[in-house]
Subunit: 800 residues, 2 copies
Amino acid sequence: MIDNQFSIVDAKPKQVAELMRLHLIDEADFQLDPVALFGRLLAKTMTNGHDQATIEQNLHQLLATPDVDLADWLESGQPLSDSVFYLVALQLLQFEPSLDFQVDDPLAAITKINLPHRFHQQWTKDDVIDAWYRLIVTRNKNGQNYLDYLTSQGLFTWTYDLPADQKPLWFNGKSVATFDPAKFIREVVYIETDLDTDFDGYADLVKAEIIRPAETNDGLKVPAVFTASPYNQGTNDEWGEKITHNVNQPLTAKKTGRVKSPAEATFSDPRYHQQVNGHATEASQSFSETGSYTLNDYLAVRGYAIVYSAGIGTKDSDGLQTCGSPEQTDSMKAVVEWLHGDRKAFTDRTSGIEINAWWCNGNVAMTGRSYLGTLATAVATTGVAGLKAIVSEAAISSWYDYYREGGLVMAPGGFQGEDADVLAAETFSRTKNPADYRRIKDTNRDYLAKMTAAQDRETGNYNQFWMARNYRIHFDRIKADVMMVHGLNDWNVKPVNVKRLYDAVQGLPVASHLILHQGQHIYINAFRSLDFSEMINLWFANKLWGVDNNADLAIPHVLVQDNARPEIWHVHRNWSTSNKRTYYFSNKVLSTSEVGQSSLDSFNDHHDDVTFKQWCQQPSRWQEAMLADDNNFSLRLLSAPAKDEWLLRGTPQVNLRVAVDADHGMISAQLVDFGKERRLTTSPQLINKGGLPLGYHWKYDDLREFKLAKQPTPFKVISYGHINLQNIKGAGTVNKLKANRFENVRLLLQPVFHHLLPGHQLGLVIFSTDFGMTLRGNENLTYQVDLGHSSLTLPDMSAL
Amino acid sequence: MIDNQFSIVDAKPKQVAELMRLHLIDEADFQLDPVALFGRLLAKTMTNGHDQATIEQNLHQLLATPDVDLADWLESGQPLSDSVFYLVALQLLQFEPSLDFQVDDPLAAITKINLPHRFHQQWTKDDVIDAWYRLIVTRNKNGQNYLDYLTSQGLFTWTYDLPADQKPLWFNGKSVATFDPAKFIREVVYIETDLDTDFDGYADLVKAEIIRPAETNDGLKVPAVFTASPYNQGTNDEWGEKITHNVNQPLTAKKTGRVKSPAEATFSDPRYHQQVNGHATEASQSFSETGSYTLNDYLAVRGYAIVYSAGIGTKDSDGLQTCGSPEQTDSMKAVVEWLHGDRKAFTDRTSGIEINAWWCNGNVAMTGRSYLGTLATAVATTGVAGLKAIVSEAAISSWYDYYREGGLVMAPGGFQGEDADVLAAETFSRTKNPADYRRIKDTNRDYLAKMTAAQDRETGNYNQFWMARNYRIHFDRIKADVMMVHGLNDWNVKPVNVKRLYDAVQGLPVASHLILHQGQHIYINAFRSLDFSEMINLWFANKLWGVDNNADLAIPHVLVQDNARPEIWHVHRNWSTSNKRTYYFSNKVLSTSEVGQSSLDSFNDHHDDVTFKQWCQQPSRWQEAMLADDNNFSLRLLSAPAKDEWLLRGTPQVNLRVAVDADHGMISAQLVDFGKERRLTTSPQLINKGGLPLGYHWKYDDLREFKLAKQPTPFKVISYGHINLQNIKGAGTVNKLKANRFENVRLLLQPVFHHLLPGHQLGLVIFSTDFGMTLRGNENLTYQVDLGHSSLTLPDMSAL
């Protein structure tokens, strides 16, 4: 294991006070000599009991030196040393002799595991306190810092009974879990929007579910962490499957010129039918469980109200599922407005009893991944008051880049045939209330039919529908600080989505952080190698509580997980730089020297029926076949083996001169890291199911980590792009395509941050049908590429 | 979904009282007409709120007829009908229109899903109450009965505050979750055994962890559910891997005659060093979490103390890991004795403060799967007082049948090279206390070395070591009632283990139940199709609380999951009968007509290096290759396609006349169901991660179910057996083997309970090396089988 912690802040002047506040040291302890003090600190953190026999028993089970147990050593009169302190520390942090460290050389392990430490010739009392404080904030073998571990063992349950005005307790800039989950208050409210998306003439009510600490009833005002999740009230997976689109059909020639598509349904302003008949301070409706994000669970016991809403078109709310439209954004913004005191909510759908978020300090953050992170981003682009910070994880920043690309229908990886209408149907959970659904069924059917037309799978063009779902247009309105998290291998919500957001916020007066990990479409808050939850704890303390903890300085601006070695995270100052390197396609290799003479090569996009069907069913086999060898359905260009380690960062660009023997066609390209290597596993591996407690007898997460795969692989796709040859001027403009006429095509690939190992070769593969993502017409089309007039520009390819 | 419930008992006379006790009906409600009563009952089970607006809102979301919502219908003056009641019932049980039922024909779904029901021409008040009571105990789409669902929504948290002497509350013979998990008391005690397995001269102390309801402090005495798990305090997986034995080596000729192996270490009687210095009623040591069995979690909130102990040779206990020896059994029996008041325990390892299980009513059950169920079985064979019932899941009944077979070293499926010593090393968690391990390291090393010799991998014979670990010898001492659960596809702990236990207890004066499922080595308490947890709730109410609920009549004696269709469970009176059918091997087919003339066929056990290595790495590929086609390394005999459905139940026997061209050799056989078919998935599929709450804000399980696999498979192995040709008289006797001399071999295969579909063929495959389980010497041995003098006897092959 390698420990990467970015949430530890320098708090030397506060160390003693913070330790005393948590009863980890007493006034009297300062009179002790260093060894006795060490023993006293040890005794104070024992979690199975505090009587003398138990303390002795525990000390008797730990080693102080390779041969002397801790109980005996504390009586031995020996002075404290680096090796004794850190041998004990390793054991307290659950590292194991022989496996993780050698008992006769604990200091080697401390360095190897990258644990915070400070060595001393002679240990003074101050050194003991300082080292102990550091130990308390150091993560253990199971991905928890020692403080959180002690919390999960129940050592701090006494803090549950502290008066509300003494909470939260801060330790090293982060909130301690002092809020009793058994006493959480769970409430349901219905927030009145300014929308009428179900055409009934009345303002849509949107249900929100709130979990808040009992201390709010005693006067404590807390920030709200809000997750907007259209999935939260249930999904209609079978319904979505039924209307999934057939992708086994050919491209066709499109009408040229500016794009025109059928308009989607529009909504009118509503009447507000909820007459206010009274006010309540307690909700009349409650709930037991709601689909929760474990990061929110972690925060809940640390003094945050957690709020979930599924928005319009979901169970117990009004409205329709508009899939990313401004109305959906507004319905989520309404929740923030209510939390900030700027909007009405009611205790139920009919009585007109108003209820305020009186327990909220008015500061709101939004969290969540994928559609959830998308809506956090979308709401941030409204600049709504009260929204102080968003954690935008694997978020869509333009839905065109989710379901389309370069004038092509494009599937999110793994979801061939899905589109905005499919997702709308899947998330329209008003079906879960059968009588409600009976009433809205026809309206929803008609609305969805219009969406199907407006999204325009026929052309794949960028149009009004997609413009309405492009949040980038309003990036300049963002006022919240932004934490971005994205997988460099996320082929579902592709990295271009975060790159565009990252680039935009650099020009805005907001704090921003970017974390790029080696996963696909996943959460990272249960990684062993990274203290993500603690970073958020630190960051939200600053953003939502106003704690002056230097969070934005401690948390890296750009943090990138290494793709070549497990558990390594690199701090960077930016994603891309202005450096570039151009590769030319001479002699079917990638070379930095230009040739400049025409040199044609070609490939054909047709496959025999058996192969075609098999690859449709298992696109991974197509991918394997295409990269394994030269073949007639793609062009493969390889660089010379890299002599050094290289870092590729930014957006690669392919410049092609290409022709096809038809009036329609598409070009795809993949950038590949070729080299037989044990690479990181595709998904993080389960280390401990349910092994990460988020509080004391509260929720649990599954501890995970990427490891090196057992078997080497010959290559790995690191980026790709696709373009319709009728959209070479842009996704919203259609050019005529003449058979066999060469066109110059500029194709931007997905942005990368890739560590290329020595001996590996960069490869660029040019082809047409992408079995995993594009339409699959299996047409007999031949593409010609003029290698002499084509090139690949790689951004910032710098030696490591 | 198909619902199978065996925990519902007839409780007609108690219905009203039980409903009133749970506040699901009031005295005043009896004055209402049937429709108003129905409305009242509905309102009482609402879990999101009980104010009129919320009740109306909820009723407004449910359909009473295809077109009228429940709120409107209740006001309509229409009489209650079957279709209204059961349409509402389906919705309350979370079934979904279109997907699970049609709104215009709810009664068809009720029958198809197999939900408890009773139809009426005219619904009286009594009918409403009766139907409502049935609904309360009916399981919903998410594998919970409605009562447990309402519990998980918090409807019964008011019962937490009932006086201790009013608990448990019984509903339909089962305990309601009336015990607040937030108030559980967690204690650690150290039980003094009569053993000294670590050779220090003193009695081994064994740690036990206890979770008991707070009500025990107010005078309630509860039964204890004890799980004996050597894994519970951590495992040394890497250590086990290191000493895993190499299986790529040949059999060798063994010394003939009675078996003699090196003796294992023996233990002496201990001194009792724990002087009693006082008595405590409260433990001084506690804990936060321990590896728990979700069935125990389910029971914990229903009024049981849950006890875990890892026994000797584990973290915080004394002793060594003896892997199934009588000493290990005794260390677990000691826990039962303490719970029953027959043995001392202390609050810690040194102070001598004694503590009794004063909160226990003296009745104990043991639960757990695999090693855990094994120890439950083992402790039951001691006849220890207080042990009233065991749930023996996937339990070993003789360790020889776990690591050996027929004079051969035999791996549990998936664990090639494991043996008793490996498992002992893996579970010896005293390593987790580094100083303790430092002190015991050498002793343990010497002990393990003796175990390695005594288990005798050189011969694979049955010897003293294995006899000591054969619990069958003492089956006649069992006094506890026995619930057996085993997977018919469990190739880890093979079905012979449960068959032997089942057969034995039929002759004992104890109640017994057998559940055979289609899984491998798994738990079944989170299946959607079976109410296993509720069955245990019913059974333990009877066994441990003495509730007269007819549990042993309600729960089937033999319950078998169908292997051909999902979610079907059959009730049977026994496993096997005395019926038999013999197949002869004429002309290389399985035929019921005898031939009687010699007819030789042969196979050779050697493979080229590449194939051999590949199959060693992936035994599944060997399995595929062997069954896919005729080949020269096995003999394959097929029956004619079955004309009807057949049920095979019991132990198949192969009678072979066989010779090998060496002085050593082994024969394996597999019984195979041939027929292209979509079979059940190998593992139950996840339906809902964490979607099965076990109480209110308590633990959660992952809801699972076997489904039909998407793709058909050509065959499925249903049984097998292996024998060393030097052990044809028994595993404990070695005969000389002469090259090329024919021997008559009787080979018992694993017992089956298999549903063979029409058109399928039974196949018997004869071979030698089993890449998944036997040694793999890759020797050039040729085996000859005299087909004319060989046969297969199938037990009780009856038409369905």
